[in-house]
């Protein structure tokens, strides 16, 4: 479906609301709307200088944001997403995680239909078959957003997310003859990282891009540390994480887990050391239950735990229904925006 990228439609008061893609010069209106809708405090990362622009307009995969503005330029409603390049069975595509959807809390109830129209325009503008749009949109919504996403955007529940957790003292792993180099900056990952990841990802049917430029954008201003596991000079794994309050407890959250089987012990041992240095007593990560590492980490002392989150998604390409991604997409917490 082709729709104009800007149009005027009446809002709940009968005023003309302009529906259009969000532009870089909408920063002030967007942040005002964020403050009202999400009750952001002054220290929130999204309110830091440059953060909004970086999140929406410096993403190497592009911008996905559609909003309604009133005649004074105030943002009344928004549907947005964070796109990431992906490789699906050899095809280069883009997945988009739904984020930051909002309607003005003071005019929100009356704006229900406007919010729905923004959502439909977002889906129509950016979703599409491979080659025509983003074939897959997904997210981990809170309950209220889950209902909205289901009703307005056709999101389906794909997975009741479980975590893997392990007390630092219970880790059963050793580095063996592997070495781990620590980096605090994704841009400083070694020159052979991109080539190694392209080879590593071939074992999975679907993965997001994790080249240095993408990781540098994803982890800009993040306190995440990266551990590059090597054996006889060759990269054997990449693990990343940091201590944080997450899912109700302070823990060392592993956001990237891209590890060859022989490097698991070294990667776990590195994470345990980092956790201890950062004052966390538990390692914690999310992996698809079908992947080999889900079982392997349990062998190393991790245990499966419930989370508050449900993965939802919508496919825009009939070749692969939404649940295909639940069963084939190797995804980690770093693919989400849940832990900056």
């Amino acid at each position: 479906m082709t729709l104009p990228r800007s149009s005027s439609e009446p809002d709940a008061r009968g005023d003309a609301a302009c529906l259009r893609e969000v532009r870089a010069d909408d920063e002030r209106a967007a942040l005002d709307a964020f403050r009202r809708a999400f009750e952001l405090q002054a220290g929130d990362p999204l309110l830091q200088p440059g953060a909004w622009r970086r999140r929406y307009f410096e993403n190497p995969a592009g911008t996905r944001a559609f909003a309604a503005f009133d005649r004074d330029g105030a943002m009344l409603a928004q549907y947005a997403g964070l796109p990431r390049g992906a490789l699906v069975e050899g095809e280069r595509v883009t997945f988009t995680q739904g984020v930051d959807s909002l309607s003005d809390p003071e005019r929100g109830r009356a704006l229900g239909s406007l919010f729905a129209r923004v959502g439909r325009r977002f889906a129509a503008t950016y979703g599409g078959r491979v080659g025509e749009g983003d074939p897959f949109m997904w997210g981990y919504p809170v309950r209220a957003a889950w209902r909205v996403g289901k009703a307005l955007l056709g999101y389906e529940t794909l997975r009741s997310q479980v975590a893997l957790a392990c007390g630092v003292d219970a880790v059963d792993a050793s580095a063996g003859d592997h070495a781990v180099d620590t980096s605090r900056d994704a841009a400083a990952l070694p020159d052979d990282h991109d080539a190694w990841y392209e080879a590593f990802r071939a074992r999975h049917a679907a993965t997001l891009d994790r080249d240095r430029a993408t990781l540098a954008w994803r982890y800009a201003s993040s306190r995440v540390a990266f551990g590059v596991v090597r054996s006889t000079d060759a990269i054997r794994g990449l693990v990343a994480g940091r201590a944080a309050g997450f899912e109700g407890a302070r823990r060392f959250v592993i956001t990237e887990w891209l590890v060859e089987p022989d490097a698991r012990g070294a990667a776990i041992a590195w994470a345990a050391r980092r956790a201890a240095e950062e004052g966390a007593r538990e390692l914690y990560t999310w992996l698809p239950p079908w992947c080999e590492d889900f079982a392997a980490l349990q062998d190393a002392g991790f245990r499966a735990r419930p989370t508050t989150r449900v993965m939802v998604g919508r496919s825009y390409d009939r070749r692969r229904p939404a649940e295909w991604y639940a069963d084939h997409w190797y995804t980690t917490l770093g693919d989400t925006d849940l832990l900056p």
Partner: protein, 349 residues
């Protein structure tokens, strides 16, 4: 006029009448599944269910040519009794599957079935014939696609299984409970009441929704069916109090070398009863020739963590739990977070 053009117009879709439809239904069953089911087996599964009967049929004259059916259970939610119904044994005779009209007979029949049985809970919750809150199941791929598109099926979760590899026969742990085998046919409320219902009320705790598990439930659920034989293990303390209950199904189930722990009912804080039953269940499964024991428990229950602490590990399964809610309060997220469901709530074991 061809057969295919004639048939849809003449089919009658209505609730199954056990008095006249069963022989024809079983003939169609045999034609669809290539095996015979006896009237006795059908009766035990459907008519003897204390929670009622759910079956809709399509009839060509006196002949049953399709069925959409379910197995209901009485589910307790916040002090109210509801009915949840697992969809099972849906079938369409091969002669009636083809046709140019969409949706086909399966969907038409299912829609009539849901319209008849699904809906707001009736006052008092005692109506055993309609007003079901949830219909659910673990559909195969083809049925899932049809259900999602035409019947408002929604995915609740993909099932995870707890697996315990069975090594040497475990010795009985030192606990204050002894484990005994209960005979399903003998289960009945005693002079002091129904001790199984009491156990269920203690085990339910803060868990939000659960099928009522009492003597009548297990007498029906664990009666021999076909080749299925169940073993009920009860943990009882020196005072004679029933502290826990586990149900095993004999014979391989769900995976090579696997035996199924069909049900588990132990209050979350009763570690002694849990350890005693866990060891007894493993010993029984091993004695039955099993290499591993499998259980389904909700990941948000305390038992999910406790089982792992006792050596069970979590693995994926190909099964997805799908549901259709007829009450907005009890949507897929509610089921995910609050419904105590085990293999006993399914027909998979």
């Amino acid at each position: 006029m061809t057969d295919l053009e004639r048939r849809p117009r003449e089919l009658v879709l209505r609730p199954l009448d056990p008095a006249r439809d069963v022989p024809s239904l079983l003939e169609t069953w045999a034609a669809v599944f290539g095996e015979r089911r006896s009237a006795g087996e059908w009766s035990r599964r459907f008519l003897d269910n204390p929670a009622g009967l759910r079956a809709f049929v399509a009839c060509d004259g006196d002949r049953v040519v399709a069925q959409y059916a379910g197995v209901p259970s009485r589910v307790w939610i916040d002090g109210e009794e509801h009915r949840f119904v697992q969809s099972v044994d849906s079938l369409v005779h091969p002669d009636y599957r083809a046709g140019l009209k969409r949706p086909g007979l399966f969907v038409r029949l299912a829609r009539e079935y849901f319209a008849h049985y699904g809906g707001p809970r009736r006052a008092g919750g005692g109506d055993a014939t309609a007003g079901d809150t949830i219909h659910y199941g673990w559909p195969l791929e083809a049925a899932w696609r049809v259900g999602k598109r035409f019947l408002s099926y929604e995915r609740v979760r993909e099932e995870l299984v707890l697996v315990r590899e069975l090594g040497a026969t475990p010795s009985a742990p030192a606990t204050d409970c002894a484990v005994e085998e209960l005979r399903p046919g003998d289960l009945a409320p005693g002079a002091d009441g129904d001790e199984i219902r009491w156990l269920w009320e203690r085990a339910l705790g803060a868990w939000g929704a659960s099928a009522v598990r009492d003597a009548a439930y297990y007498r029906w659920r664990c009666a021999p069916q076909g080749d299925a034989r169940y073993r009920l293990l009860g943990a009882r303390d020196a005072a004679g109090t029933l502290r826990g209950l586990a149900v095993l199904r004999d014979g391989e189930r769900l995976a090579p070398g696997a035996r199924a722990l069909v049900d588990w009912m132990v209050p979350a804080d009763d570690e002694d009863a849990a350890r005693a039953l866990d060891a007894a269940a493993r010993a029984a499964a091993r004695a039955d020739g099993g290499a591993r024991l499998l259980a389904w428990l909700p990941d948000r229950s305390p038992d999910f963590a406790a089982f792992q602490d006792r050596g069970w590990r979590v693995r994926p399964t190909p099964y997805r739990l799908a549901a259709r809610s007829f009450d907005r309060r009890f949507d897929a997220l509610f089921l995910r977070e609050h419904w105590w469901a085990t293999l006993a709530d399914s027909d998979l074991a």
